[in-house]
Subunit: 333 residues, 2 copies
DNA sequence: CCAACAACTGTGAGCGCTAACAACACCCTT
DNA sequence: AAGGGTGTTGTTAGCGCTCACAGTTGTTGG
């Protein structure tokens, strides 16, 4: 049987509360007593039962992170940073994939209310359907990424502005036929909408007329779907001068297609992505992208979350992070 | 204040135990009572407190997954599948990065003993230093990947055999100067040792004399380090006919270097990787690799873990998974 | 009609921990 | 010498849940 506070207390000749005081270190304990207790803890190999502590304190020290798909490089990098930052601050991270399924977001909300997690960092996909709703008593939640409604604290990058700047950068050497890959039909993700919008803003600035045929739809943002969409597109359209993919993952799929067709990049067509995932740097050719500090996303998200946990009442907070256009070989002329 | 079993019981006009029976569904409850209780649960928006349940039951329904670095594509894919499979079976997954730091593996062991997690899936890196030791009372643990000692249940792919087969495949069209990228000096990871060994086995089979200068060391298996190592190597060595990288990530770094030097792949040099990560398919050119079923790894690991949790006493179990050599453009002549 | 049984529901206790409070020793002030 | 800190430790209680067991009903067969 595992040792409990009682056992430790008995062995150290003190009360259970004193053992607890030693463990938690808030209420002062004299040196001698502390030593005795620590000795007893070592001898009995005592480990506190966190379920019991959680029950008593109403807090578990665990936060949940929900991402659409952990397997994608972007999500993986975000998860990496969140886990790291959380660990530094003593939080344990529970992970959940929502697979863009609102049901699973809802499950998480329930779990948050079941005292198993103290807070939730959520990267929603389609928010209309999202479990995060006005009016419902939310656990402390921080949203990651582009979201149209303002339902909870939030950390994001101004996608529209970034897409605009990227389009402008691609147009720099006189390119005018700039295609985008990743637009969605109907109600798409907020990211798709904003990036499309930024692209269109840039066209206005550049005095280029909007050409519907340069919007290449791609609902799911994976290399596979991007490759398929681009292949289909090239079968029936002339080659654009530049291709702005709404994520690096899609750009990697696109590069693979273009290369197989023997096209030279960036001479025949410039390519850019969005997210600055690690692999983009080693793409062939290295990928021009919208870059931002993912570790900052993690630490800001955690900051907002802990502040929210400390004070449920305050105003909603929104943090916008800087981005930069990183030009690499895929667009450098 | 949140509703408790008591509140639900009062409202439904039954005892707390009956509510518990309805929730857990093991002890039969009559239809009428069940309906009343479910009604009350809905009305009060009752959510059970999992900390309390965990305290009472001694189990939390949470397992932990520990990986060296979540940000790498391989780890991310493994994590993805484990989270998915665990979710299907009703497990919650806590995630931890060990960053190859044995201290963090040890922390996890402690947490397992603190009743916060029921079991642990661990992908260790250097096991000599690992927290998993003989003699120590382990929580239910399943090890992922190559490991020399047999300390716990384990799921792995026979790296040595796979490396041997890959080397043989690369040698097929008469290539003889086959380099490997990723060997380590001194005590390296078990994976590095086994893959090197498999390569050397193949050389013996092929009747090719071992050439020390074809072993390109690279301690950390990332695209960056691989690119650096290969760049340095090519500065002072002639170009090999083939390059077998010990991971796909390294291969992607290597491809980037080779491409920048204007080398044609596979004509000038064939390249292969290991792990079959998603991006390898979209590498330029698409990457020949050792492939295996990562979802099977996940489900086997979970199976071993749940079996171990059910019966702590049984013999150690080891599951070896199939692999296959997938030839893509980077080696196809 | 009653015993015997099944099917269901209630009672009491306690999992391990820590908050609030009480108690005590000890020192310093007045 | 009494009063009032100050610092440390003990006592009591209960967080919300479910187990073991006891109790209650309904159902069947003799």
């Amino acid at each position: 049987m595992r040792a409990t506070v009682k056992d430790v207390a008995r062995r150290a000749g003190v009360s259970p509360k004193t053992v607890s005081n030693v463990m938690n270190g808030i209420i002062p304990v004299s040196g001698a007593t502390r030593t005795k207790v620590e000795q007893a803890i070592l001898e009995l190999d005592y480990v506190p039962n966190l379920s019991a502590r959680g029950l008593r304190n109403g807090r578990s020290g665990v936060i949940a992170l929900a991402l659409p798909d952990l397997g994608t490089p972007y999500s993986a990098e975000i998860a990496h940073h969140i886990v790291e930052v959380a660990h530094e601050q003593g939080w344990i991270v529970q992970i959940e994939e929502t697979g863009s399924d609102p049901k699973r977001e809802r499950e998480l909300m329930v779990r948050a209310r079941s005292n198993l997690i103290d807070g939730l960092i959520l990267n929603p996909v389609v928010l209309d359907e999202s479990a995060v709703r006005v009016g419902v008593a939310l656990p402390p939640v921080v949203l990651l990424g582009e979201v149209t409604q303002s339902l909870a604290d939030r950390v994001f990058v101004d996608s529209a502005a970034a897409a605009r700047d990227m389009t402008l950068a691609l147009a720099q050497p006189g390119r005018r036929r700039i295609a985008v890959l990743g637009t969605t039909q109907g109600r798409g993700s907020a990211a798709a909408i904003q990036r499309t919008q930024g692209y269109e803003e840039a066209l206005v600035i550049l005095g280029i007329e909007r050409d519907e045929s340069l919007l290449i739809p791609c609902e799911k943002w994976t290399p596979q779907t991007a490759a398929d969409a681009l292949t289909a597109y090239l079968g029936s359209h002339p080659l654009p001068e530049a291709l702005f993919c709404f994520t690096d993952s899609m750009a990697i799929g696109a590069l693979s297609v273009l290369w197989k067709r023997g096209l030279r990049i960036p001479e025949d067509i410039a390519v850019a992505g969005f997210d600055d995932i690690a692999d983009g740097r080693y793409a062939v050719p290295s990928l021009t992208t919208v870059s931002f500090d993912k570790r900052a996303i993690a630490s800001e998200a955690l900051r907002l979350l802990t502040e929210r946990m400390a004070d449920r009442g305050h105003e909603q907070r929104v943090v916008s992070l800087h981005y930069s256009i990183v030009e690499r070989d895929s667009s450098r002329s």
